[in-house]
Amino acid sequence: MIEVVNLTKRYGQIVAVNNINFTVQKGEIVGFLGPNGAGKTTTMNIITGYLPSSEGTVKVCGYDILENPKDVKRRIGYMPEQPPLYMDMTVKDYLDFVSDLKQVDKKKKRAQLNDIMELVKITHVRNRLVKNLSKGYKQRVGLAQALVGRPEVLILDEPTVGLDPQQIIEIRKLIKALGKEHTIILSSHILPEVSAVCERIIIINKGEIAAIDTPDNLSKVFGNSTKFTIRIAGPKSSVQNLLKGICGVKYVEVASQKEKDVYDYIVDTSGETDVRRPIFFELAKFGYPILELKTLSMSLEDIFLQIVTEEKEVN
């Protein structure tokens, strides 16, 4: 559906996007993740044809953005970070204008606009001036604008930025629902958002792709959980020595005291062998009961930070 090959964008000396490659399948929801200034918006601007690339090609539904811009633009709905709204128009007039601009069939226009307004829940504000709407509603009008013409591909740049938690949840639900009919690329620098909505994540850092995978796989690959926290009742030093003696345990740290003679320990293992059973039997032998055992899985947040900082170290 979307093919990005060797895409590079230079602003004078600065390389904003450096040789990135990825493809998005039909019906997928893909998240662009990266710190501010990583090149997310630039990439989106190139895919939508707002900016030309310095090198490389972008193909949407088989059409090249530079050779057949019209065919590509017809198939893309774009919501930039700042929704492109005309403040002095009413919502209805504005969407009317966008329909004409996107050359929506005159006969279908009315019904389609009504559907879209219903879908993003702006029907009741349709006669109000855009400038008088709250940020959340402006964002929805921006989303409605992208949906006009029912494009196959939706590109949403930070769709939930500046919204309150309630609105964020609603917009996320909406995006998920839209994902059934549209191919979606959305960008964000907020992890939970991407992991909640997207089927695949592309992590961009300093204009380069750091990782592409599903949220689950990213957790598995980068966060092969080798750390446990264990709450054990028993004298601190002997428990610590016991744990250290178990094959596969690399490192033991006493985290905190919970009750008298009850401590939390953080156990770091090599990850090759499962140490949970040996720990249980060993402690049982000495009569130190395990009160709690948790794997410390890496959250996407940790993975993201890890990838981003690893890159820094390499550089």
């Binding site: 602003y11 004078g12 630039t42 601007n45 939508t48 044809g49 707002y50 900016l51 030309p52 811009p69 019209k70 633009k73 017809r74 893309i76 774009y78 930039p80 700042q82 929704p83 492109p84 709204l85 005309y86 403040m87 002095d88 128009m89 007039d93 204008f97 966008v98 004409d100 601009l101 996107k102 050359q103 604008q145």
Partner: protein, 234 residues
């Protein structure tokens, strides 16, 4: 293109912009018309050239926001990522400003009508004068559109527009100082040396072609400016 034209034209009337400009223009031109009334003079063409001078102030304000505002408010993204190409965006916007100008001009018809009721004006000269006046205004709008494409700031766009129009106004005068090839080149840009003929009632094809090519060249440069900016930076 029609969608952009329609929105832009309506846009002038969503805001007080068109009303204020038209009102101001009518007020000022009616002062000049007072001369006709007091003196019982049926010659309106003198007024038309003074009104042409007024356009130096009115047109930059009319065109200042036309492209600059889209850039500032981010709506440029919507226009450029839509299937409409840049040519139709620029031409659509130009035509919208032109239509507001034509509405403004149509209202001034009230003066010659009053003259026609009470006097006996030279109709051919009047028509010639109006054709010249409209072509002059249309060329000014093209200059204003180009000025608006150069910057994000409406104020700067208005100032650039005003200064370039003023320069064109005194171009004959400048040309008379330098002489030689430079004078000829400067005369190419002189909108007014072509205007005088119209005002004495000569309807010649050459100046009409000149004005139309002037407009086309300025709109073409505007399109190139926008394209160039896309390719060079963000």
């Amino acid at each position: 293109m029609f969608a952009i034209f329609k929105r832009e034209f309506k846009g002038y009337f969503y805001s007080p912009m068109a009303y204020v400009l038209i009102g101001l223009y009518m007020l000022m031109s009616s002062f000049f018309f007072l001369g006709n009334l007091y003196d019982g003079n049926a010659d309106f063409n003198g007024n038309l050239s003074t009104m042409g001078f007024l356009l130096l102030f009115i047109i930059p304000i009319l065109t200042m926001r036309i492209l600059a505002e889209d850039r500032k408010s981010g709506t440029e993204v919507l226009l450029i990522t839509s299937p409409a190409n840049i040519t139709s965006i620029v031409v659509g916007k130009y035509l919208a400003a032109l239509c507001v100008f034509l509405v403004m001009t149509a209202i001034t018809f009230v003066y010659p009508i009053i003259i026609a009721i009470f006097g006996d004006p030279a109709y051919a000269q009047l028509i010639g004068g109006y054709v010249g006046y409209i072509l002059l205004g249309a060329s000014f709008i093209a200059v204003g559109v180009l000025a608006s494409s150069l910057t994000e700031s409406q104020v700067i766009a208005a100032v650039i527009g005003f200064v370039s129009m003023l320069t064109m106004w005194i171009m004959d005068y400048l040309a008379s100082f330098v002489g030689g090839i430079l004078a000829i080149v400067l005369n190419w840009l002189s909108l007014f040396s072509r205007y005088y003929d119209f005002n004495i009632g000569i309807l010649n094809l050459a100046p009409v072609v000149y004005y139309i090519s002037f407009i086309s060249v300025f709109l073409f440069i505007t399109i190139r400016v926008i394209e160039r900016r896309r390719w060079s930076q963000g």
